[in-house]
Every structure is written in C-alpha cells, then in structure tokens.
C-alpha cells in the first residue's frame, strides 16, 4: 500500500482503496452537515425549527449528550492516573480520542447554536459568575485544551513523525507529565459535567427541571457528573467493541474491558439510586410546592408520557447496572453490549428530558405543551460531528498506535 510507511509496525490495516471509499462515504455526510452549518451561519437560526418557546432544542441536547458520552476520557484518566488502575492504560488512548471528538463536537455545535457566533468570546470577556453557562464555557474550553494536550502525544507516535528526534522527545516528555494533565482534566470535568446539570437545575421558573440542592449547586449538578462518570466509560467500551467488529480484530483484552465495565457498573448502580431519591424528592416535595404533581409533567401531550421516566430509570439505568455489577454479565459478550448500549442511551435520554421536556412542559396555566421537531438543518448539523468523529477515528486507528495490545492480540502479521 502507498501509505504503508505511515501505518504502525506489525499491524494489519484495510486496503487503501477500501479506506478511501469509506472516507468518501462518511465525508459526503460530513459535507452535508457542513452545508447545513453554513446555512445556519449565513442565513441565521431561522433555518431551524426552534421558536420562542424552544430557545434550547436539539443542539443543546446534542451538546449535553456528547459531553456525557465523552466522560469516558476524564473518568478513565482519573482511574488510570489518580486511582492507579494500571490495566486501563490499554484503553486510555481510545478514551482520550473519543473524549476529544465529543468535546470538539460540543464546541462546534455551540458555535452553530449561538445567534451571534462572532460574539462568542463575550462569555469570557463579560463573564457573569452567577451563570452556570459561564462555568460550562470556562471548564469546557480548558478541558478541551487538556484533551488536545493528551491527544498530541498519540499523533507524535506515528511511525514517521516519531523518527524526528524533536517530536520523539516531545512525545516522550509529554507522556511523562500526562498524569498532571489527567488530574487537571478530571478536576475540570467534575465541575463542567456538573455545571451542565446546573444549567437546567437552577431554572427556578421551570418546575420540571428545578432542583433544590446544597449552597449554589442543585442536586442535578452532582447527578450529571455522576452519570457522565458512569456512562462515559460505557460509551468508550461500546465504541471499542464496534471498532473491533468493523476491523475484525481484537484490540483490547477482556480483562481491561471487564475492569472498566465493573467500575462503570458500580458507578451506574450508585448513580441510579441517587437519581431515584432525587426523583422522589422532586416529585413529592419540590414540584408540589410549586403547584405541580408528577403526572402534570407526564400527561396531556402525545409524546412525554411516564414511559420516558421508566425507560430512563429502569430499562436504561437499573438493568445495565445490574448486568455490569455481576461477573457473569460482564463476561457474557451479548449482555455486556446490551448493558453499555442501554447505559449510553440512558444518559442521552436523561439529557433529552432535561433540555427538551423542560421546554415542552407548560408552566403558565393557560399555555399548552409546546412540541417541536428539528429541521433538516438541525439534524444535519447534529450528524456532522458523528461523521467527523468517524473520520477522525478512521485516520487515528489507521496511522496511530491507539491500542497498545493490538500487536499482542493479533500476532499473525509480519513486520514490514
């Protein structure tokens, strides 16, 4: 292959033509998203189906969802560098890459979502320290910088780049101090994952999302961090398994996946207990004090029924937690996949209701439910980061030694 000099030593990669065909296919989707993005920037947000009832819609959900799913990077980093779970070094690279994709996607979506993108820097310049969104902006930007710093040494490990002594030494030195960045990243993430929950939790004019809390932090602040730490690694496992399926190779040893799955399982189990307590307190104390019963939020409209709460807590919470905390569940491939899929769906669903359902539920007694469906431009710009992520994974997997155990698990390939 023409590009064989760029491919890591002693690993097998798909033929170049196949790689290019897939890049073109995914690239076409990417271009579709870029076209929609340009429409939004040039013509404005009238290209969306948002309205004065739906100031927050699909994009904000996508932001919250990808950031939660990208939580695998900070939590795996925390476990690897701070707690000292050494086995996780075999999956940390991929967790960082997935985190990098998720966070860069979130920043891109935010850049499309704001009405005046050229003024985005006002959030730093005229920062309102009382706003949860300010905290999100600062931590998100800083953590994205940390993820970039964590991703750079991986790029430097490319066979040709590594031959340059400066880059080789730079990469080596960056690896040496990576624990500092991982710790910084974990610290930042604990805050911004929480402040994303705080975004909805502090809205005391919106009884569906409002939560009491401790000092300035609503309970949902802690639940968001907790759920991201629980479900982010599940998403890392899910993408790892999908990558293994597509490449037809084993890339990470089972014991590594099972360890991460076990920790995620316990995080998810404890999270879901906290979530149930929070829901009960909100349903039977907070909301009634504002004149609402639980069923006021789950009736009188064609979409948001009580099923959504059951799906989130039972099917996508208790069930995957039960699978992941048992040895049998983790060792059974199908059950493991089911659990990580459910956990990933669950956290996305949680973010959905905390954005979309908040906007939909009426507060004034003489208003009705406001339902919304996204325009194609919103859908395309939400799929855009997915296509971008796939392309970045394709390039990273092809040209960088992302999986340290790949050679050991696939020994048949001869040295080039």
């Amino acid at each position: 292959m023409i590009d064989s000099a760029l491919i890591p030593d002693r690993v097998k990669r798909a033929p170049l033509w196949k790689f290019i065909v897939w890049i073109i296919i995914v690239g076409a989707v990417l271009l579709w998203g870029v076209y929609a993005m340009l429409l939004c920037w040039i013509k404005g947000l009238n290209q969306t189906n948002m309205n004065n009832s739906y100031g927050f819609a699909l994009w904000i959900w996508a932001d919250l969802a990808v950031i939660a799913l990208g939580g695998g990077a900070f939590f795996t980093g925390f476990l690897r560098y701070i707690v000292g779970k050494d086995e996780l070094k075999n999956i940390i690279n991929y967790a960082v890459l997935i985190g990098f994709i998720c966070y860069s996607s979130a920043l891109l979506i935010l850049a499309i979502d704001v009405g005046q993108p050229l003024r985005s820097w006002f959030i730093f310049w005229h920062a309102n320290v009382h706003s949860m969104l300010t905290e999100v902006a600062f931590c998100l930007s800083c953590y994205f910088a940390v993820l970039t710093i964590e991703y750079i040494p991986l790029i430097l490990e490319n066979r040709q780049i590594d031959k340059v002594p400066f880059f080789h030494n730079l990469g080596h030195n960056m690896h040496e101090i990576m624990a500092v960045f991982a710790a910084t990243g974990a610290f930042l993430s604990f805050f911004h994952q929480g402040s994303l929950g705080g975004v909805a939790g502090v809205l005391y004019g919106r009884p569906f999302s409002y939560r009491t809390g401790v000092l300035i932090w609503p309970w949902v602040f802690f639940l968001f961090t907790w759920s991201a730490a629980a479900c982010g690694p599940c998403f890392t496992i899910l993408i790892t398994k999908i990558t293994e399926k597509i490449t037809g190779k084993r890339l990470v040893k089972n014991n590594v996946v099972e360890l991460l799955a076990k920790i995620s399982g316990w995080m998810l189990a404890t999270y879901i207990i906290a979530k149930i307590i929070d829901t009960l307190y909100w349903a039977f104390s907070t909301a009634p004090s504002m004149g609402f019963t639980l069923m006021d939020f789950y009736s009188g409209n064609p979409l948001y029924g009580i099923w959504i709460l059951i799906l989130e807590i039972v099917i996508c919470g208790i069930l995957p937690a039960a699978i992941l905390i048992t040895k049998k569940g983790r060792k059974n491939g199908s059950l493991l996949m089911t659990a990580v899929i459910l956990a990933s769906v669950g956290v996305c669903l949680n973010r959905w209701v905390m954005v979309l359902q908040v906007m939909a539920a009426p507060v004034l007694t003489f208003e009705d439910w406001a339902l919304y469906y996204p325009s194609w431009q919103e859908v395309a710009t939400t799929i855009l980061p997915v296509a971008y992520g796939i392309i970045l994974i394709m390039f990273s997997h092809r040209y960088l030694p992302i999986f340290p155990q790949e050679k050991e698990l696939n020994p048949a390939v001869e040295s080039k």
Partner: protein, 263 residues
C-alpha cells in the same frame, strides 16, 4: 453600589392590569411594537415566532355555553425581582447581557452584548423573552417612521419589554434639567399603558404611595402570575372573577380544583 442597593429609596416600577376592563383589542401590542421598533413579518400568525414584546392571551373558564367566560390577559415582561434582584433570566445570562436595575426594578437587555445563547429564554416561565430569528426588514418607507430613541436589533440576539426605558431616560433628563431629583407619575408612562382605550393598564412606582399602582396592587382582587415560583414579578393583575385569579398559578387538586388549561 451602596446607593444602588438602598431599597428604601429605590423606585420599583410596575404595572397593575385590570383584566375586568381589558377587551383584548390589542392596542397595547400595536403601541408597543410601534414605540419600540419591533420588527414583523408578512405572516404573523405564529405567536411562537412573532416578535411581540407584549402578548395578549385569551383565557376561557372551559365551561360549555352559556356558562362560557372569556378573559384577555396582556403579558409584558414581568420584570421579576426574584429574591434580592436575582430574577430567573438575569442570573443565568453568561455574558451579563441582561441586568436588574436596583434603582428602578427594571430588567434590561443589552442587545450589543447578547450573543444569542438563549439561556434567558429557557429560564423565563412567562415566555416574555423573544429571539431575533430574522434580520429586521421594514416595508419600504416605514423605516422613516422608526422611533429614533430606540435602537433596532440585529438578527441573533434576544430582546424583551423594558418598560419603555427610553421614556424613563427622557423623563429623568427633563427632571434633572428642571432641578428635580424625582420624576412625576405622569412623566414616565409606558406606550402600552397610554394606548389602552379601556384604561386597563396602570403604570407607576410600586414603592411610591403617591402612585396609583401602590394602592391598586393591594386590592383583594390582585394577583401575580406564577407567584409560587418565587419569581416575584412586578406585574399585578386585577380580576373580580375567581377562575381568572386561579388561572394565575398552578395548584394541586387538594388546594383547588384543577384549573382548566386553555389557550
């Protein structure tokens, strides 16, 4: 800052709207749009895309004829005080583009600082905040009739009722020029209050015993929208009809019979 937070001296502008008088004619909406250079589109039928700062809702008691009753409810921005000026929208704005003025109680919007994140819209339970989804376009010649005291807003920013703040500024300037520190009740009135043919809207300083609103807000028929959320709004409504007063807030069945939702 010390003076700014001296609540005893501060004005607290607000409104009392008598719903028994309101006929739903919409003059207040039209006056507001003309006064504040609010843009409009050819099709204004979708209230969720309309730029109206003040919207008139139609409430019904939900009963069949002949017991059906109608009530029109004008809804400007509530200029919520929240607790200590932490109104729902002001505290969430990440770029400090909206402000609670402790001297007037007015919640303002700084259009040139707003970058259009719309968090304030998500925070407002009254839907009093609206977004410029389009650039403002005026029918040919109409731009000549724009109010020179009010800036037009660009696409991509949030705007809202500001109690015709430019009128407050003019009145204040006039008072200073005449050597007065305070402005009289009739010197500062909003466009909607002046335009109402039924005299349903009374505007003034809720803290000033000389102003009409001071007494009106104490009426046993007075209520505010969503008081239970502790938004502490400055718009008071008057209605002699109990079902209208109940429609102002959400109640559990055990507290009241559930209010019929209607639009």
């Amino acid at each position: 800052m010390k003076e700014a937070h001296n609540h005893k001296k501060a004005n607290k502008y607000g409104m009392v709207i008598d719903l028994d008088k309101c006929t739903g004619c919409g003059s207040c909406m039209v006056a507001c749009m003309a006064e504040n250079n609010i843009p409009f589109r050819e099709d204004e039928s979708d209230p969720l895309l309309s730029m109206k700062w003040l919207r008139v809702y139609k409430l019904t008691n939900g009963k069949p004829f002949p017991k059906t009753e109608i009530c029109y409810l004008p809804r400007p921005c509530m200029h919520c005080e929240g607790e200590h000026g932490h109104s729902p929208c002001v505290s969430v704005c990440p770029a400090t583009a909206t402000d609670y003025d402790h001297n007037t109680g007015i919640v303002s919007q700084i259009y040139t600082r707003c970058f259009g994140c719309r968090y304030c819209m998500a925070a407002c339970p009254y839907h009093a905040r609206i977004f410029n989804w389009w650039d403002p376009v005026w029918p040919e010649g109409m731009e000549k009739s724009l109010n020179p005291d009010v800036s037009v807003r660009m696409r991509g920013v949030v705007e809202k009722c500001n109690f015709c703040f430019h009128r407050y500024q003019s009145a204040k300037e006039k008072a200073y020029a005449e050597g007065r520190r305070e402005i009289r009740e009739d010197e500062y009135q909003t466009a909607c209050a002046q335009a109402c043919p039924a005299d349903a809207i009374t505007f003034g300083d809720l803290n000033n015993p000389k102003h009409a609103v001071y007494k009106l807000k104490k009426s046993p028929n007075a209520f505010r929208l969503l008081e239970r959320l502790k938004t502490n709004p400055k718009i008071y409504y008057l209605s002699s009809r109990e079902w209208v007063r109940r429609a102002g807030d959400n109640y559990l069945e055990s507290e009241f019979l559930q209010t019929k939702r209607s639009t």
